[in-house]
Symmetry: C2
Subunit: 264 residues, 2 copies
Amino acid sequence: MNDPRPVGIFDSGIGGLTVLAELRRRFPEEHFLYLGDTARLPYGTKSPDTVVRYALGAARALVGRRIKLLVVACNTASALALGALREAVPVPVLGVVEPGARAAAAATRGRIGVIGTESTIASSAYVRAVQALLPDARVLTRACPLFVPLAEEGWFDHPVTRQVAEVYLADLAHAGIDTLILGCTHYPLLRRAIAAAVGPGVTLVDSATAVADEIEAQDTATRRGNGRRGRVQLLVTDAAARFARIATSILGDPLPAPLELIDL
Amino acid sequence: MNDPRPVGIFDSGIGGLTVLAELRRRFPEEHFLYLGDTARLPYGTKSPDTVVRYALGAARALVGRRIKLLVVACNTASALALGALREAVPVPVLGVVEPGARAAAAATRGRIGVIGTESTIASSAYVRAVQALLPDARVLTRACPLFVPLAEEGWFDHPVTRQVAEVYLADLAHAGIDTLILGCTHYPLLRRAIAAAVGPGVTLVDSATAVADEIEAQDTATRRGNGRRGRVQLLVTDAAARFARIATSILGDPLPAPLELIDL
């Protein structure tokens, strides 16, 4: 099969660009349509009902532009809205929670840490997903609310970020986790500071790699462009200039794509 | 005059509670109706058009509940939406920028620092307001995006907060400011860390005190309750549990008011 329609990727803001970057690397001939709902971010401190409502609006906008697959790159939306999204849209929907849980279950020796936004952690979605695969695994969780603003400030490996990581991750490190799920798409940007805080020997699982593995396994990226690089288009709901500034630190400068402001 | 209608206070989230706390202290017989637009916070990283749209929606909800005065306790909305609000609502509208600028102009010996969110600083609203009063004043500005999440994390005087304050405020301290406008209602919560970073001898101007002074000067708080304490009501647009948890650290425990979830 050779389906030329783009893969849709949806996030509350910039974090999902880490997923877009990985998917472009792995599936270079594919077209991608990315939507960052910057008018309503962050999702991670909002209630489940509100997150579902926002996610449905974003998904419908992408479906209206004829995507073939919807990747929910936002962990909060994956944790809280995946069921509602699968009912509402007519294309396959892939979240980041199940792929992340699967990657962690394959890597662990029995003790898994999960970090994410307040809403993601409160949902227990990762704990359920991991324990469905490994009922005996010990799963410890910690919300890390300052990691997203630190990533958006560009302080990826700043001394302040290292200190915050030590405060947040001390209990998980002390409990002897062997695998840590980075349960928020912003967190790979802080990978070095996070790795330093949990110490050597802990496997970090990030959503971008896990989702790319899943797409490869399902063979849902199906455009063959005869070696020609696919197109990327970026949509945001607000503050395009700010998005562009941060996006260049993830995707490179100049941006590989035009940036379009849309209203949901 | 003795007008029993409540004073409406509007903020994007919890920051404006510092204004509510100060107004209650100064006008104990007054009734207050507070609206935190928690479904759409933060305003400080969003575009001017979006901030105006959100602020109008919030203001109309408060006017619909028959307030006599609207206090825009959000610096971002004060900086970007005050004109639109004054045109749209039939009650007096008081922002925090002009009172803050007036307090700073009265305190300074000529060098004023202003800190706030990205949108507030980008608007230059404080610079214009100060220079309208003191054309020769030197005004230096700095956006401090991590201060709001640090305040919401409850790390008011945490070592991390002290370190972030040093990074953000080094240039202002070095330039020899004598007065610093805390141009965001969250910032008074971090007062000790901010004061330590700019050093002794710098007057800190906060929105809560400045707005209370302005209301006293205009004599717009006009309920006389025969010594009876006025009522407070708190409205939020989302995540009431999270709001309540942070609000108790500002207003005290138990909360002085019922908390109602509304949809805008």
